[in-house]
C-alpha cells in the first residue's frame, strides 16, 4: 500500500464546496427519513412493544437510528457519489493529473464520506435531544464515534466501488449488505433473543459494535464488552481503509 498525504484535504475541500452549493438537493432526505422511522417505529410500533425494563421503545431505538443513518450517509456518498465522480464525471482522472496521487484522492473521498456520516449523526442526535430522548452528557461524544464509524463504512463502500462494474451493482450492496445490517445489528430489537451462534455472527457485521457503543454513550452506561466493540471498529476501519486504497490504485492506474 502506498501512503496518502495531507493533500487529501484538497479533495475533501472540493466535495465540501460542492455539498454546500447543492446541499438542498439531497441533505434533507438524510434527516427526514430517520425522523420518520423514529416516529413511525418508535411511537407507532412502540405503542405495542413492551420492553423488559419498562424502557420506552422510542428510547431503545434512538441511538441505533443515529448509527444506522450515519452508516447510510457514508455509504451513499462513497458508492453512488464516488462512482459518478469516478466513471461519469472523470473527476478522479482530472485530479490525478495534478500533484495529488490516487491515494490522496481516495483518502479525501473516504474522509468526506465520514464527514457526511458525522453531519447526519449529529443532526439526528440534536433532533433526539429536542425530543428529550438523550439520557446522558456522554452523548456529546457520539459525533466523534460516528466520524470513526463513517471512515469504516466509507472505506467499505469505496472497496465495493473499486470492483463495481456498473452503477446498478450498488443495488446489491444496499439490498444484500446494508439493509440486512440495518435490521440485524441490534438497532430495533436486542440480539439476545437469537441463538448464540447468530449473536456471535452478528458481531461480524460492522454496524453491531457501533450500535452498542452509540447506545452506551447515549445512556452513559458502560461495560467491559464495549472495549471489544471499539477494538473491532478500529481494526475493521484500518483494514478496510488500507484495502480500499490498494484496490482503487489498481482500478485507476491501468
Amino acid at each position: 500500500m502506498k501512503p496518502f498525504s495531507w493533500r487529501f484535504i484538497r479533495v475533501w475541500q472540493r466535495n465540501r464546496d460542492v455539498f454546500f452549493r447543492l446541499w438542498h438537493s439531497e441533505a434533507p432526505g438524510f434527516v427526514a427519513e430517520p425522523i420518520i422511522i423514529l416516529v413511525a417505529m418508535g411511537l407507532g410500533l412502540g405503542a405495542y412493544v413492551g420492553l423488559v425494563d419498562g424502557q420506552k421503545y422510542i428510547e431503545f431505538i434512538a441511538p441505533g437510528i443515529i448509527a444506522s443513518y450515519a452508516m447510510f450517509s457514508a455509504s451513499f456518498e462513497c458508492t453512488y457519489g464516488s462512482f459518478i465522480r469516478m466513471e461519469y464525471q472523470r473527476t478522479y482522472d482530472a485530479i490525478i493529473a495534478t500533484p495529488l496521487n490516487v491515494e490522496d484522492v481516495i483518502a479525501g473521498e473516504i474522509f468526506w464520506g465520514a464527514t457526511r456520516a458525522c453531519m447526519t449523526g449529529t443532526v439526528i442526535l440534536a433532533i433526539e435531544a429536542a425530543f428529550q430522548l438523550v439520557a446522558s452528557p456522554w452523548a456529546l461524544a457520539i459525533p466523534v464515534l460516528v466520524l470513526l464509524e463513517g471512515i469504516m463504512f466509507a472505506s467499505i463502500a469505496i472497496l465495493f466501488t473499486s470492483i463495481a462494474p456498473a452503477i446498478h451493482s450498488f443495488n446489491y450492496y444496499f439490498t444484500l449488505f446494508m439493509t440486512p445490517m440495518f435490521f440485524f445489528s441490534g438497532v430495533f430489537f436486542p440480539l439476545s433473543g437469537f441463538p448464540e451462534v447468530v449473536q456471535s455472527l452478528s458481531w461480524i457485521l460492522p454496524l453491531t459494535p457501533v450500535v452498542h457503543l452509540t447506545r452506551a454513550l447515549f445512556y452513559g452506561q458502560f461495560h467491559h464488552g464495549l472495549l471489544w466493540a471499539l477494538a473491532i471498529v478500529m481494526v475493521e476501519t484500518a483494514l478496510f481503509f488500507s484495502i480500499a486504497l490498494v484496490m482503487m490504485r489498481r482500478r485507476l492506474t491501468t
Binding site: 493533500r7 484538497r10 475541500q13 472540493r14 464546496d17 460542492v18 452549493r21 447543492l22 464525471q89 472523470r90 473527476t91 482522472d93 482530472a94 485530479i95 490525478i96 493529473a97 495534478t98 500533484p99 495529488l100 496521487n101 492506474t253 491501468t254
Partner: protein
C-alpha cells in the same frame, strides 16, 4: 535541453501491446506531435508520461527527474488537457479553475487573479458563473486548456485538443497554442489532424501499432516520404491494372487508394503523363503530412 525522455518504454495490456519499446526525446520549448491512427498507442504513451499509468517496462524522465520516484514534482509542472471532457460539472466555470488551483496549492488570491486572467485570455470572462453543461463544445474545450494552464506549466500535454471543434474555435485554440510556445511552454500534442500537426508541431513522430515509425519536422517527413507534390489520378477498375503496370515499369513511387492512385516523388516527372490512358484525369497538388501518414500506416481500417 531534453525535457522529456523515454527509454524502452513499453505498455502491455492483457492481450495487447499498446506501446512497444519507445525511445523519445522531447526538447524544451518545442511542440512535439504524436500522430497515429486510432489504437496506435498515443494515449497509452501519454498516460504513462503524465504518471497516470505505470509502464510495463522502461523508464521516463521529465526535467531530468525519474518519473517513478518523482511523480508529484513532475505533475506539479505539467499541464494536462485530456481528450475527454473531465471538467467538474458540480462546479461553475470559475470554481473549476479555483478548485484546480487548490490541487496545485496555489494561494486563493493568486488563484483568483490567474483564473480571471486565463478566462479572459480564452474569451470566457463572461462565463465565470456558468454551469459546465451550459457551455458549448468549443467553450468546454477552451476551458479545459485554460484549466491546464492554471499552474503555469512548463510542459503542456494535449490529447486531441481541437477534436470536434468548428473551424473558428479550432483556429482560436491553435492561435493560443502558438502563443504559448512563443512563451517557451513545451508542448506534447497527440493528434489525428494532419493539418494541425503541420501547423503547430516542430517535430512529429508517426506512431503505428505501438511503435514510432518515423520522427522529423513535418516538412522533412513530407519531402522524404512523398516529395513536394503528389499527383492523383482517378481510374476505372478496368484501366487500373494497366496504369499500375505502367507506373511500376517506370519505377514510380505510388499508392493505390481504391478509386484513385497517388503518385509520389514526381518532381520533374512530366513524362508520367504519357503513360496515362486519360491524362485529363490527373490532378497535381502539394504533398501533405496526410500522404506520409497513409504511406507509413497503410490505407485499411486498423481496428
Amino acid at each position: 535541453m531534453t525535457i522529456i525522455k523515454t527509454q524502452n518504454l513499453t505498455k502491455s495490456f492483457k492481450d495487447l501491446l499498446a506501446v512497444d519499446n519507445v525511445n523519445l526525446e522531447v526538447e524544451e520549448g518545442e511542440c512535439f506531435g504524436l500522430l497515429g491512427p486510432n489504437g496506435a498507442g498515443k494515449t497509452s504513451l501519454v498516460r504513462m508520461i503524465i504518471a497516470a499509468s505505470p509502464p510495463t517496462k522502461g523508464d521516463i524522465w521529465v526535467l531530468g527527474k525519474d518519473l517513478k520516484t518523482h511523480s508529484r514534482q513532475v505533475k506539479a509542472v505539467l499541464g494536462v488537457v485530456p481528450q475527454l471532457d473531465n471538467l467538474d460539472p458540480d462546479l461553475t466555470v470559475l470554481q473549476n479553475l479555483m478548485a484546480f488551483a487548490r490541487y496545485f496549492d496555489i494561494p486563493k488570491d493568486e488563484a483568483r487573479r490567474r483564473s480571471t486572467e486565463i478566462l479572459s485570455l480564452f474569451e470566457l470572462q463572461n462565463r465565470c458563473n456558468s454551469k459546465i453543461k451550459e457551455l458549448s463544445g468549443g467553450m468546454k474545450r477552451r476551458l479545459l486548456i485554460a484549466r491546464g494552464l492554471i499552474n503555469m506549466p512548463r510542459i503542456l500535454v494535449l490529447d486531441e485538443p481541437t477534436i470536434g471543434l468548428d473551424p473558428q474555435a479550432k483556429y482560436l485554440v491553435w492561435h493560443k497554442l502558438i502563443e504559448l510556445k512563443s512563451q517557451g511552454v513545451t508542448q506534447l500534442l497527440c493528434t489525428q489532424n494532419m493539418e494541425e500537426a503541420t501547423a503547430l508541431c516542430d517535430r512529429v513522430a508517426i506512431m503505428h501499432q505501438g511503435k514510432i515509425l518515423s520522427l522529423d519536422a513535418p516538412r522533412k517527413l513530407i519531402s522524404e516520404y512523398v516529395g513536394k507534390e503528389v499527383w492523383e489520378i482517378e481510374v476505372d477498375s478496368e484501366e487500373k491494372d494497366e496504369t499500375v503496370k505502367h507506373l511500376e515499369s517506370h519505377g514510380l513511387d505510388f499508392e493505390d487508394v481504391g478509386g484513385r492512385i497517388h503518385i509520389f516523388h514526381v518532381e520533374g516527372a512530366e513524362s508520367v503523363r504519357g503513360l496515362l490512358t486519360s491524362p485529363e484525369l490527373l490532378r497535381r497538388r502539394p504533398a501533405t503530412l496526410e500522404d506520409v501518414f497513409f504511406k507509413l500506416t497503410g490505407r485499411s481500417l486498423l481496428e
